[in-house]
Amino acid sequence: MSETDRTRGISRRHFLNGAGALTAAGWIAGFTGGWVLRPRWAHAAGPIKMGIATDITGAIAPSGNANWQVAQFAVEQINTAGGILGQPIELHLEDTASDPKIAVGNVRKLIQERKVDVVLGGITSAMRQAIKDPIVNRGRTLYIYPQLYEGQECTKFLFNTGPSPAQQCDRLIPYIMKTLGKKRFAMPSANYVWPQLLNKYARKVIEANGGEVVFEEYYPLDQAEYSATISKIKDGKVDCVFNTVIPPGLQPFVKQLYESGFQKNGGVLSCVYYDENLLNYHPAAEMEGLISCLDYFQAVDDPFSKTLQQGYAKKFPDTKYLFTAGSASTGMYRGVKFYEEAVKATGGKLGREEVAAALDHAVLKEGPGGGAAMVPGHYHAKMNMYIAVCKSEGGKTRYDVIDKADMVDPREC
């Protein structure tokens, strides 16, 4: 490649083709196996190979696709700015298909066939648990997990860039109790590991603040009938529903709760994985007054976050996969940037031990919702947390940010 040809960044045409197809068809696969986005220019040491393992298909494909787009967006920014110390990043994607059984095989391809230097991805906790072994133990590769989750993941070489239960609950629950004056909580939940551990933590916070958990119940993920739950909420005089039911059971539950007049009678619905993507699952009226606590909302008034959103919108115009916090996208962005910082700190060395050592105390000055910093020795990151309330106006929904906490400690590990 000639010197003049060394346009910084991924080949424009190549990239637009990819992006066009992505927005048109969601995603297309390369015929050589998986999907690779190559940088335009080369470096003597070769590109840094970054593996993305996320749910492009299956039940949580909307979040997975958002993750993949954010990864492309973040990597393109880095490559456009000259790569990491001159070394470009090459992106490798494997679909985890919302199914751990398939994922284990596909993730191994990233490790064994593509020989990536780092893997980012996995959304559900089931997925993280399934793929961390092939990545970290058997694959001897660094793993960055981007989603908010139930905590207690302290595996060496596994870094978490999403919020922990402490970050989500420690401020939100006292806010609901002190400012809104709600004392009686109900915890309807989907039956899997994340709600169970999150509820355990939330219950502690509620009880420490003098509140009461009226009931904590677990339902099959696809349950569609909640009248028994609703009447318990009524009979128990519950004034705050701390919901961890997830789709597909979520929509009928929220609908039935709304129709029972819970919100009208002063009840508060709170749901800590709710971002802008999820509001679209429901009619606007049902969302009025919903309280969520996340590391970023699009309404956050921060110039850097605004620029990010503009860049993302430009790269993926009209995409239905938004750059939001609840679907691991902000964690993905932070993961990519943390990795960049770490490699800069090692002077371009990509060995797992060296990068992990640098990652351990990496700091981001800016990011969606503000900066973030890894807590040394704890595999989790400090970040700003926001409490937001949903407002619906004329059939449209938006979040109003009502509280911000700076650099909240994850209190994990």
Partner: protein, 349 residues
Amino acid sequence: MDVPTTRAAAQARKVRGSNKLRFRVLPIVEVVTFLLLLAAPFILAERTALVTLMTNIVILSVFAISFDLCWGFSGIMSFGQALFFGAAGYVVALVGRDLDFSQLLGTLPLALLVGGLLSAALAAFLLLGRKTPTSIFLAFGTLTGAYAAERLVSGWQYVGAGNGLSSIKLMAFGSFEFVEGPAFYFVALAALVVVYAGSRVLVRSQFGLVLAGMRQNEERLAFFGYRVQMFKAVMFILAGMIAGLSGALYSYHQGFTGPGNLGPGLSTTAVIYCLFGGSGTLIGPVLGTGAIELLSYVLADTDAIRQFWPVILGLVLLVVVMFQPTGLLGLIVSARERIGSFGLRRQAR
């Protein structure tokens, strides 16, 4: 009359039609397959992912053989082989997690035991009852067993419920731990060779002659005084043990096991491997597994095909059953040779 008997009768007619002793193809197929499998890791040395794929093929071949022993040799349409496969997989995973033990000399025999015990329990219920079971009863009985197991496990927190068990302790020999790669491959290949050779000796022995007779005419054998159902039960238990062995190896190799590994889905996959390759031949299931797994590896990355892959598999099975009931192997091996000859009669010739 049930299906295996009439099918066997038709094959027997064909055999009688061709009286000449022919050139034997089967041993050549076996030797070539074995040599190819032996050479594979050396040819693929640098491509770790392909060695991993080959290891999976070898392990699943063992699983397919277990189904062949049921259907091809004893006329039991077992839709429950995955039950033994998955249960043994879960047991070795749990032993690794709770007892911190994964020595292959201990856990692989344990897997045989688990598969054997479960299949014995199922055989006692399905085969050794007062009434002689029909093949439909057996098919549904085994299918129900697998389905029930899958549902049970997916709601049971201790075994990981719907999440399954991950980060399974690596299989070990002494202080050597097996990750994916050539070493693991050769362990799997050794298992395949032992299982294959053992099964081969068994089905060509006097015991196998009784099985062949049963396939011809079950009632007649019963009148001769053979306890036909007992013979079937023995084969079913053996097959269960073999399925257990492959399930344990699979769990260790994948480092993950989930409810799907216990259910009718995987059971049916074994049926497809076997029928596609050619049932009642032992080597057929190995070839069938290889062909299907290689194809799905190549095609899995093409989105347009991946969506329809199960449909394509179904169609392939339909075509095989309708037009080539003897499977891939039937194309090159004669009916006479597939059924084989037994003991003294051959020596007398």
